[in-house]
Amino acid sequence: MRVSHLQVSDFRSWEHADLELEPGANVLVGRNGQGKTNLVEAVGYAATLGSHRVATDLPLIRHGCPRAIVRVAVVHDGRELTIELEITSGKANRARVNRAPMPRTRDVLGILRTVLFAPEDLALVRGDPGERRRFLDELLVLRAPRYAGVRADYDRVLRQRNALLKSSGHARRAGSRGDIGTLDVWDGHLARHGAELLGARLDLVADLGDHVTAGYAGVAPESRPAHIGYRSSIADSFPAEYGTPGTRADREVLHDALLAAMVAGRDAELERGVSLVGPHRDELELTLADLPAKGYASHGESWSFALALRLGSYELLRADGNEPVLVLDDVFAELDRRRRRRLAEVAAAAEQVLVTAAVEEDVPDELVGARFMVAEGKVARHHE
């Protein structure tokens, strides 16, 4: 798939921008702070309804403006669909597809798929487990949009159950029962949604693992082998092969295991007022040879690992038959010559890749294609 047309209004620094994009490589070049990343961020937003840089929508709206508009035309299997998103701060966003309003914004998920690699991705390796859980969940949604709903349901049930644990814990310490009689209900719902999310993540890691190992070996052939593995908060109560290549996790087994863990841990949960088991406590482990990447990997190794996670995602989606648009934000400057070359090889073979760079010389020669100069609030197609 590819993006044929990108338009933004009042998005980030852009009052208005309008780009016709080409198949193959599209390179945005311009000095620091001219708005290159802002443009590819808009493409990523149309695919994921989130930014790779910020957790909330407010910074995406041009300062002093009521709303931002992102319009992206996507060509897939010879068909063109136009996604239009209106981002309003503090209110529900609105989505249209080919001008028809969608009942929910998340109905646009699945029309555009992107895999975006950016300097922020170093946090995938060095950051908190939450970064890696988010990585998995975003990839899940790219593979199957319905997981956006599963994830939202799980989060909602989790918040409700935590609220109940907190109030019931208080009540218990005060010698009363409170609403603890309804805790079973929330246990059941958390186990149901949790098993679905956990199972999907385990299956994802099973499918992704070899792609990441291969991706890492590709960009850093001299380094020790990289592996990913899923560590669950209830790992002892389901078969150890879940999450390894070639396996599928049985949702029933996970459901029963989650429920049993909640019953067994009830006192501790009431004590602390939070849910202590479930996919929100899990970790995607990244290892180089036998050492965890976090805390041990060098700067270059961490970079390569982050890149391997993105390249692995890209290869997985391709293998699924859903070739995504590849977005490389400001990454070549960070890589040595060989890694640059290796990444350029993958990118040059992509149906479409969007690249940003401050210095044109940082972009490898393999990536010939459309060039855009970004400066002073304008984008100009560069014809040599």
Partner: protein, 198 residues
Amino acid sequence: MYEGPVQDLIDELGRLPGVGPKSAQRIAFHLLGADPADIARLQQALQKVKEGVVFCDVCGNVSEEATCRICRDARRDPGSVCVVEEPKDVLAIERTREFKGRYHVLGGALDPLSGIGPDQLRVRELLARISDQEVTEVILATDPNTEGEATATYLVRMLRDFPGLTVTRLASGLPMGGDLEFADELTLGRALSGRRTV
């Protein structure tokens, strides 16, 4: 900002659900130019809604008398009780014309984040109603969202031990995550007629 009473009115209107600052302004200036008789009627309607409306003793729906029109209607089957969250859900189900039984309005759904448990809902009244009367079927028509589903699960557990009672849930197919009242009549009607024993 406008001066005095106009701004007060805009502020009050802006607190209503679904009314943004722009609409609040528009409504305020509309009222400013409206016929005094129209204003008087609106004023009366507002007053009556607080003073004149009571909740039905039996089902908890809004009513003009102690017992509501549906609970008084002898043609409606007292053996079948449809449990909903809010009075507006009664209207939504009435619009489908699929249901000939009676209602029970809970007054909300389980929602620990807002401090709402069974005691804040009309659950005890529902159980009393089922033990006293010849109810044979309870249809759980809470909203198809997290809180509504949890409430339905809770009620299934509470109702399990009533002998001879069938408990059903609306068929799936309602837009998930939504409100019952936003489902169109056809979809809701189909969910109702396709209800399943739980």
